[in-house]
Amino acid sequence: MIVRTRQAISTLPWIALLMLLLAAAPAQATEEYALLQVADPFIELHTGPGAGYPVFHVVDRADFIEVLKRKTDWFKVRTPDGKRGWVARTQLEKTLTTSGESTHLKEPALGDFSQRRWEFGLLGGVFNNAPQISIYGGYAFNENLSAELSASQVLGDYSSSYLFNVNLLSQPFPRWRVSPFFSLGGGYLSTQPRTTLVPPEDRNDFTAHVGLGLRTWLSRRFVLRAEFNRYITFSSDDNNEEFKEWKAGFAFFF
């Protein structure tokens, strides 16, 4: 019963958030929207934000459209006679702004990746032959040097561990499409043996590691990342252990 109550309490913030969002949504109706003039012979309005949704209306050259919102690479627009539909990004770029300039949509590109400040990612892989999941966040001081914090969970057959790391990354060729990096850092490894096995003794050790990896810009704010690290743990019983780690995943940057 206590557990049930706790479950109910844990859902309360979500319900509050839901109601807040519901209350906030109609406020958008009074907003003003970007006004664009069609410059191509026509642009197509789809019923939904996807290439598969049927075209139900076309807006001719020189007509104006209001841009209401965006979903991925699709824009919801409104025509002067009140028709609402979705326009692809490639088509929306063939319009003019009210000042007569051609519409330019700012999209993150390869060049922006080398200029990034913040980077967050999610990686999966193998740590000492056991599957692991890790998240990380990084801050770039300049094109070449960045610092990262990461947390991993290693889920082995005989134990499960948490690994927390501080990394210093050097990226010697930040403008390459596939850019290598080298890392150096230290961390803390906390291992809990499985309860069904003896001895049920927790182990907490400091670690140090070196590694190398590759990053490649995928599209928009996304990068793919793969890396290999070698760990050494400083055990309290003076019996240091070495581990290998492979991991790969994706990250996004700001």
Binding site: P49, L68, K69, R70, K71, P131, I133, L155, T195, T196
Partner: protein, 224 residues
Amino acid sequence: MEGRLRILLLSALCMPCLWSAAALAAEDSTDQVAEQQVAEQQVIQPQIDRREVGIDEIDSEDFEVSVFGGLFSAEDFGTNAVIGARVAYHVTEGIFFEATYGRSTTTETSYERLSGGAPLLTDEERILSYYNVSLGYNLLPGETFVSRNWAFRSALYVIGGAGSTTFAGDDRFTINFGVGYRFLATDWLAIHLDMRDHVFDIDLLGDNKTVHNLETTAGLSIFF
């Protein structure tokens, strides 16, 4: 002599005409200047005072948060209520990433019930919680027609990923995969129906065995 006089007379007669013509022409040009000025003024100061809204300030709705509830069938430990929350990010019209957290309280195994002996797990160990990160693909995007006048956008998606399940005192590496149906009531509000399989290894009863735990949930999500 006579000819000269005629020219003089004619020119005297024509002068006023020329003057008036010149005056008319001048008037015309001042009119044009005035019109031009008005036109220029209109370009600089449009009569409808519209605030410039940049195209980059457009509200994008690529994030989705949802709450869900349903049934989680933990192998050997009964089918029980599950609740949870999800956050998704839609990268393209087809691909999205999703992070999920869910929680269920499992019940006794048939063995525990029949034997009447000591329970296998403590109350705390019976709570099953999981998190995972998955990649989804909108396999069948389309529209759902509700009666003659209503069409709603919907999508059938496939999803799969990895995570961890905490159950019976241990964390277990878990693979999940399944299908889901997203029904958009409005642009920002959606209803989800999901079916997932959570696969992990458990060594609770001695041998390490792979268990499939089926989960069926319904959820409500908001795009922002």
